[in-house]
């Protein structure tokens, strides 16, 4: 392979670093109205009266909108395929506010100062209601967060808002009670994970204008431009054909931009006023009023024989989706579907639970998407089981874990919101990942622990993980390749570059398929008018789904090129030889370069525009796998933990751009480490988010990340473009369990709540157990 599986700097990195305008807020219309949103000070309240007359009278205020100004059409803000698995439980503006920071009204004014002043002049009378702030008390709580009659699910997801339930799910493989009864050793533990923030460096932002064709054109920092377009059309009842959504460069998403944020407001303002408008979220608003990870309580029960054969997995999850149900069911399901198959040879599995509403910040998509929470619980409980069995945790995993060519019945049962797709693990290098990871961390030298000084203990812990590659039979990606004169190509993809390198990797796939060089493939992405459809950057689907579409398009383009050359040579296509640059008919001694052919096709003879569009829908979702190993040092007197080394060995099929793939893994690892050790989330008793800026929400800094070692297994997934699977999410899944297991190995303290704090470790050491 000439272009893929090779290092290429990203196609846009240099331009970005050199400061070219690239991001949404760099591309606003001059004189845009500034849109600001009045936000609820109450966790749960009804707007009895809202008087905007003073605000409207303020000079420089163009428009003020309240729930009176919008038709009551419930929708979901979640960026997912239609019909969405998320309940339609949101109105653009409603008479209820459901979390501190929820939208009350919106103002558009000539400048920020005036807009903020106008917010202060909106008079609201609230009937303050009793909020539900404990997700373990949400189900059946007398305080009903969503009493509206119009809201609904799009298909059965167990939506029961009268009981504050957004979704419910249960699945069974075999008979769990029977299998658990037969098990000789049973362990059970309860785990809690927190509502982490994505903390991407670019705050959410969007701007809108009416263009010369009288169409609404948005630039939005979004992961799902096509879903945004559809949801805007349906909810504002504005013709889909008159909306264009463009995604420019995005400063990080990780799932936090996989749902609408300000698009409704700038669209409504621009449609009603005819004037361009923009909205930039403050960092406080990003924390308080966009999305978080779903906090969960996970009860994990494992049943095994004394010889270490795992027989039964019983997993119950209670998930908190906050004020609205974006991604409620699907994140919940992934906590099972992309975790439990790791131990595929059990007799029975039960996975069940519900997702409840609370008056917290709305939870949504976040890298890992349930898998990191589920992995923490499963891989911690596996180590607990090994302790009870007296069995080495590596040997236990090697005995029970998924291997190449095996399968799990869970794949067929669990999809994303609906039934799944059966598949064999055509590529699964977990065994290698575990063995190689052990070498790289020095497992044998350290496991379980070593005293390194008077008050410091060093230890190692590990976890295995899997994820997916796209959503089979649901998500379709497409690509268009256009031939230009001079012999270069435009690659048009809907696929959404948000910093993960998709423009670069998809260009590499195209270049490899076309047998040309990367500089001859010019990528343009994510414009709902100019690029073909793509669901967007989520579910680790870009390389596998969008990439397969690109490869199909490249292959078809090559076929058409050879056809054209055969016209030139007056022969059959089979007689043409092509090396990506020159077409050759050896016997007739004829040749023509791509450059010459492309010019001829534009200007001289048999003129035509060669342009190919191909689509791809996955028929399976081949999981990437990894083994994560943590080496830590624990201070026995203070409980403080230093993460001295984290090893990742990943099977993502063929890494199409090894350095960018490594960046995906390491970026994920550090986010996972943040969730494990550093990112505490605190609410006040009144439901005010206390950790709402970078001073209080502490993501890992350079100092915390001492050493990362990342390697890829030799692997090849035949169904993927040039053997690739995916790598966008897998990196985040292992740190909670790996580090938690290491801490147990260090000091015998099992921490079952994230983040793991030094105080919790000390408390567990002192009480001799679990904290």
């Amino acid at each position: 392979m000439k272009v893929v599986n090779k290092l290429h700097p990203s196609v846009d990195g240099k331009g970005i670093m050199m400061g070219r305008p690239a991001y949404t807020d760099d591309l606003t219309e001059a004189n845009s109205l500034i849109v600001k949103v009045l936000r609820s000070p109450h966790a749960f309240a009804k707007i009895i009266k809202i008087d905007t007359s003073r605000a409207k009278a303020l000079e420089g205020v163009e428009i003020v909108l309240t729930h009176h100004d919008f038709k009551r059409i419930p929708f979901t803000r979640a960026g997912q395929g239609y019909p969405e698995p998320s309940p339609h439980d949101k109105f653009v503006l409603d008479e209820y506010v459901r979390y501190v920071g929820d939208e009350v009204a919106c103002v558009a004014a000539v400048d920020e100062k005036t807009a903020l002043r106008a917010l202060e002049m909106i008079d609201v009378t609230y009937e303050v209601l009793t909020p539900v702030l404990d997700f373990e008390k949400a189900k059946g709580n007398p305080s009903i967060i969503h009493p509206e009659p119009e809201i609904h699910e799009m298909f059965p997801i167990g939506f029961d808002p009268k009981n504050n339930v957004a979704a419910s799910y249960e699945m069974n493989v075999g008979t769990i009670q029977e299998a658990m009864d037969k098990a000789e050793v049973v362990v059970e533990e309860v785990f809690y994970t927190q509502a982490c923030a994505h903390a991407m460096m670019e705050p959410h932002t969007v701007n809108a204008r009416i263009d010369v064709m009288n169409r609404l054109v948005l630039y939005s920092a979004t992961q799902t431009p096509f879903h945004v377009r559809r949801i805007l059309s349906q909810t504002l009842e504005f013709p889909l054909s008159r909306i264009r959504v463009i995604k420019p460069r995005v400063g990080g998403g990780f799932g936090g931009k996989q749902a609408l944020h300000g698009e409704m407001f700038v669209s409504a303002v621009t449609i009603k006023t005819g004037k361009p408008s923009k909205m930039v979220f403050t960092r406080n608003e990003v924390f308080e009023s966009t999305y978080t990870r779903h906090p969960m309580r996970i009860t994990m029960k494992l049943g095994s024989m004394k010889d270490g054969t795992l027989k039964a997995i019983d997993c119950h999850i209670l998930s908190d989706t906050g004020a609205y149900g974006e991604h409620a069911l699907t994140v919940f399901m992934v906590a099972g579907s992309k975790v439990l198959p790791l131990y595929n040879k059990v007799d029975a599995v039960r996975f069940h639970g519900h997702v409840v509403y609370t008056n917290h910040v709305s939870a949504g998509a976040f890298r890992g998407y349930g898998a990191i929470q589920g992995n923490y619980a499963l891989e911690s409980t596996v180590d607990i089981l090994c302790g009870k069995l007296g069995m080495d945790p590596i040997i236990f995993r090697e005995k029970n874990m998924m291997k190449e060519n095996e399968t799990s019945p869970i794949f067929e049962i669990m999809g994303e919101g609906t039934a799944g797709t059966a598949m064999n693990m055509d590529s699964c290098k977990l065994e290698f990942c575990v063995k190689r990871g052990m070498e790289l961390i020095g497992w044998k030298e350290t496991y379980p622990r070593k005293q390194v000084s008077e008050h410091k203990v060093k230890a190692v812990g590990m976890a295995i993980a899997m994820q997916g590659s796209g959503i089979p039979y649901i998500d379709m990606g497409a690509a268009t390749i256009k031939l230009n004169d001079d012999g270069f190509y435009n690659l048009l993809v809907g696929a959404t570059e948000i910093g993960q390198g998709s423009d670069t990797v998809l260009a590499q796939i195209a270049a490899e398929g076309l047998e040309t060089t990367l500089d001859k493939v010019i990528v343009y992405s994510s414009d709902s008018d100019l690029t073909p459809f793509d669901p967007g950057a989520y579910a680790s689907s870009t390389t596998y789904v969008s990439g397969n579409a690109v490869l199909k398009a490249a292959n078809e383009m090559k076929r058409q090129l050879i056809q054209e050359a055969s016209h030139v040579f007056e022969c059959t296509p089979e007689e043409v030889e092509y090396d990506g640059e020159t077409f050759l008919h050896p016997e007739k001694n004829q040749k023509i370069t791509l450059k010459q052919l492309s010019n001829r096709l534009y200007y001289n003879h048999g003129q035509k525009q060669l342009m190919v569009t191909e689509s791809y829908v996955g028929t399976k979702s081949p999981p990437p796998f990894m083994a994560g190993f943590a080496e830590i040092e624990v201070d026995l007197e203070t409980g403080e933990v230093d993460l001295t080394h984290y090893v990742s060995v990943v099977d993502c099929g063929v890494p199409l751009n090894p350095k960018l793939a490594q960046g995906q893994v390491e970026g994920g690892i550090v986010q996972g480490v943040g969730m494990t050790l550093y990112e505490g989330v605190h609410y006040s008793t009144k439901g005010v988010l206390a950790t709402n800026d970078f001073l209080t929400y502490t993501i890992p800094t350079r100092d915390e990340i001492k050493r990362l070692t990342t390697e890829f297994a030799e692997s090849y997934e035949a169904s993927g473009p040039f053997g690739a699977k995916s790598v966008g999410e897998i990196g985040i899944d292992t740190p909670p369990a790996a580090i938690s297991n290491a801490i147990y190995n260090a000091v015998g303290a099992r921490i079952t709540k994230l983040p793991i704090t030094p105080e919790a470790i000390l408390r567990a050491i002192r009480t001799g157990g679990t904290s």
């Binding site: 203070t638 970078f694 001073l695 890992p700 800094t701 105080e759 000390l762």
Partner: protein, 267 residues
């Protein structure tokens, strides 16, 4: 920042007079901390014309102008050695380099921030503050005052000393506010200890100091005793970061390590 006017003082007197003109007038150091508050100022007073941004050496002290940045303190060759460089070390742990290029020691002190990492080292280095109207006063006296008349901080006097110092900051991540911070200095005039971010503001552990300084040759048991006294006399509180109990545990562990380090040169 919310202000009606920006006033560049041409002299200390001008700055002082502008300050007392209205309670809505305030001196701005680097402005980095002030920016975080929603306070609406009438006049913000800048001292950049007054050459208060230098560190001068005298025979027995270093005089740090109130507009000296944290970065200057962090990198000053002499301060990096004074009392084992604890002041430079503490300054260097505050946020990042760009932040420290703007933040001033004057702003940090006048803000009386409970989370401040500078106050504990400044206390054990027995620094004095020099004000325009109030004259010279020890830092501890300034911190003890509940309310002070508006004044302009001119400089901080740091006595020269041969003492050994220890500074430690406990925090979740390197950029986080301290869960606890503490400083110790040990020299010819005895041992001094200060603990800050308890979460309340840094204070000297006077009783513990009295105790240990009365021992001719303090033993390990004396150190334990001194630590116990310190944890008794100082109040620790609970918040989202940590419980009072845990802060006490941290104080014990790091006081012990620090005292051993400054007294026996242990690391």
């Amino acid at each position: 920042m919310n202000m009606k006017q920006y006033f560049q003082a041409a002299s200390l007197q001008e700055a002082y007079l502008k300050m007392i003109e209205s309670s809505g007038n305030s001196i701005i150091g680097g402005g980095v901390w002030m920016k975080l508050s929603t306070k609406k100022l009438d006049a913000a007073i800048g001292l950049e014309l007054l050459a208060l941004d230098t560190i001068e050496e005298t025979t027995d002290s270093y005089e740090i102008g109130s507009m000296v940045t944290l970065r200057q303190i962090e990198t000053h060759p002499d301060l990096k050695k004074l009392s084992s460089g604890i002041l430079s070390k503490a300054a260097g742990k505050i946020m990042g380099v760009p932040f420290r290029n703007l933040a001033t020691i004057g702003g940090s002190i006048m803000g009386k921030f409970a989370f401040s990492d500078l106050l504990a080292p400044l206390l054990v280095m027995d620094v004095a503050l020099v004000f325009y109207k109030a004259g010279t006063m020890p830092l501890s006296e300034f911190l003890d005052q509940r309310k002070m008349n508006p004044d302009v901080l001119i400089k901080i006097i740091v006595p020269k000393t041969e003492s050994h110092g220890y500074f430690h900051k406990v925090s979740t991540t390197a950029l986080d506010f301290a869960t606890l911070n503490l400083a110790i200095a040990s020299g010819s005039d005895g041992i001094k200890m200060a603990i800050g971010a308890r979460p309340s503001i840094a204070v000297r552990a006077w009783k513990a100091e009295n105790f240990i300084n009365r021992q001719l040759k303090p033993t390990d048991a004396d150190i334990e005793q001194a630590i116990m006294i310190a944890c008794e006399e100082l109040k620790f509180g609970s918040n989202n970061k940590a419980s009072a109990d845990y802060r006490k545990t941290l104080a014990k562990a790091y006081l012990k390590r620090g005292l051993k380090e400054v007294m026996y040169g242990e690391d």
